[in-house]
């Protein structure tokens, strides 16, 4: 990206906001196009568009209720958008055209899409009846069809990678929150995802335990993983993300290179939000 580039247009329309931003390859790894999401008639995301390039780390920030998590969850169709299209490597996913209308894809098609997208949840969501290594093995075997031996070898490798080789046979309940979240990261990475989604990965953790998770994520970013991170950790966003996307009221208000958005926000709403969260 050029040094003089201004943060993305602040008009609040997602489409234009999505077109601005850092340089990227011709086909973005992920493209969200005019995504709207509603709960019981209440629209939480309004026509948001966002492109993510391979290797890019995008931090989604904003006040609660802004629609950040909903937008993130719609990337792997845990949330089904009311309108708009999700493209992974140029292919539209989650919907199939039938009689000129977009209808939800069946479970098999969705499962195939989800295998390519890793997700880490706020509450870890480890499987409590399985040990750490079994947590990491399960989907390798039952989604990807790897052999048990291969899955185990890979699982141990991923656990070692997040510094938890010694906890392979521990049940999640025996692990600290930070350890659980790192197991969850290992579980997602073992699937060889093209993209990792993080939904407030440290919000349920003590600051001290959050650090170990953030350190793991930082290393992942350094290794070139494409990541979208919904977070309230402003330091992390500024230091690790390539781009910060600020959302409020279901729209992208402002986006741009991380440092720029943090240090010289253009939009009034962004300034107010950053002032509120960095005061503490």
């Amino acid at each position: 990206m050029t040094a003089g580039e201004r943060p993305a247009d602040a008009s609040g329309t997602g489409r234009r906001a999505g077109e601005a931003g850092p340089d990227r390859s011709p086909v973005p790894l992920l493209r969200l196009e005019n995504i709207s999401i509603s709960y019981r008639g209440h629209e939480v995301v309004h026509e948001v568009s966002l492109d993510v390039s391979p290797g890019e780390v995008v931090a989604l920030i904003g006040p609660s209720g802004a629609g950040k998590s909903s937008l993130l969850r719609c990337v792997n169709f845990l949330e089904v958008p009311a309108a708009g299209t999700v493209y992974l490597e140029g292919r539209p996913v989650g919907f199939v055209q039938r009689r000129g209308r977009s209808v939800p894809a069946n479970a098999t098609a969705l499962a195939e899409h989800r295998r390519e997208v890793g997700m880490v949840f706020q509450n870890f969501n480890l499987f409590p009846h399985l040990t750490a290594v079994e947590n990491v093995m399960l989907a390798q075997i039952h989604s990807l069809g790897r052999s048990k031996a291969d899955a185990r070898e890979r699982a141990l490798k991923e656990l070692a990678h997040v510094g938890l080789a010694s906890h392979a046979d521990a049940k999640p309940a025996k692990c600290s929150g930070g350890q659980q979240q790192r197991i969850a990261i290992a579980r997602a990475l073992a699937m060889d995802p093209k993209l990792m989604l993080f939904d407030e990965p440290t919000s349920a953790l003590d600051p001290e335990l959050g650090i170990e998770v953030l350190t793991t994520m930082r290393r992942l970013a350094d290794e070139g993983m494409t990541m979208i991170v919904v977070t309230h950790e402003m330091h992390f966003a500024e230091e690790v993300a390539d781009r910060i996307v600020f959302m409020a009221d279901g729209r992208i208000v402002e986006q741009g290179p991380a440092r720029q958005v943090m240090r010289e926000p253009v939009h009034e709403r962004t300034k107010r939000f950053l002032a509120a969260v960095t005061d503490r």
Partner: protein, 216 residues
């Protein structure tokens, strides 16, 4: 100490009845619990042809007295050409009751699995059936085992209903012995004690089992 002598005399006569009672309990549970699990899934089916009949079966099974279900199976079915011997009729009737009641236990167990578990499974690309079998079911079973054992104990006592269609279980043995000797109190207290000992043993077993479970 007449009682003790009478009990001594009755006890060997009652043992075959206890055996029938235990067989009846186990048979009803073996048929009834899978029925209950199936009903639990069926009542939340999106298809009406599956959902409505199962809701009717569950509500009737829970709403109607067990004795009426028993009479319907034993006396009602022959009218449509299906005559069952009394042990089998009692098994079928108690299995229906078990299915109806346990379906609610299974349903609660499935609902008790946090929604995040399903989301994590889906995010990992597991298809719905594998999500159910590998993630939801193992956790739900853990929730349902204690209440299912509790129900099994109630059913064990409930098998005494089969007395009404002259199944030779424990209560009918006691009643027969009593009507021959007129020692109603001795016969019924012994039978009651035999029910109680096994029930209380089972309750104690559950309690130690669940206490062990609570430890991390």
């Amino acid at each position: 100490m007449d009682f003790l002598r009478q009990w001594q005399q009755f006890f060997p006569q009652f043992l075959p009845g206890l055996w029938v009672t235990l067989k009846l309990t186990v048979a009803s549970l073996v048929l009834g619990f899978p029925l209950g699990a199936a009903l639990a899934v069926a009542v939340s089916s999106t298809r009406r042809v599956i959902r409505w009949p199962s809701i009717v079966l569950v509500e009737l099974g829970r709403g109607a007295p067990g004795l009426i279900v028993l009479y319907l199976v034993y006396y009602g079915l022959p009218q449509v050409g299906l005559t069952l011997p009394n042990f089998l009729a009692a098994t079928v009737a108690l299995a229906i009751t078990t299915g109806a009641y346990s379906s609610e236990i299974f349903r609660a167990g499935l609902l008790a699995v946090p929604v995040g578990q399903r989301e994590a499974s889906r995010a990992l690309g597991l298809k719905p059936f594998k999500e159910f079998r590998l993630v939801v079911l193992p956790q739900a079973l853990k929730f349902v085992i204690p209440p299912l054992i509790g129900f099994a104990i109630i059913l064990y006592q409930g098998t005494s209903l089969a007395f009404a269609i002259s199944t030779p279980e424990l209560l009918s043995r006691a009643y027969n012995a009593a009507s021959i000797t007129f020692q109603f109190t001795a016969a019924l207290t012994l039978a009651g004690a035999m029910y109680a000992v096994i029930s209380l043993l089972a309750i104690a077993l559950v309690r130690t089992g669940s206490r062990r479970d609570e430890r991390p």
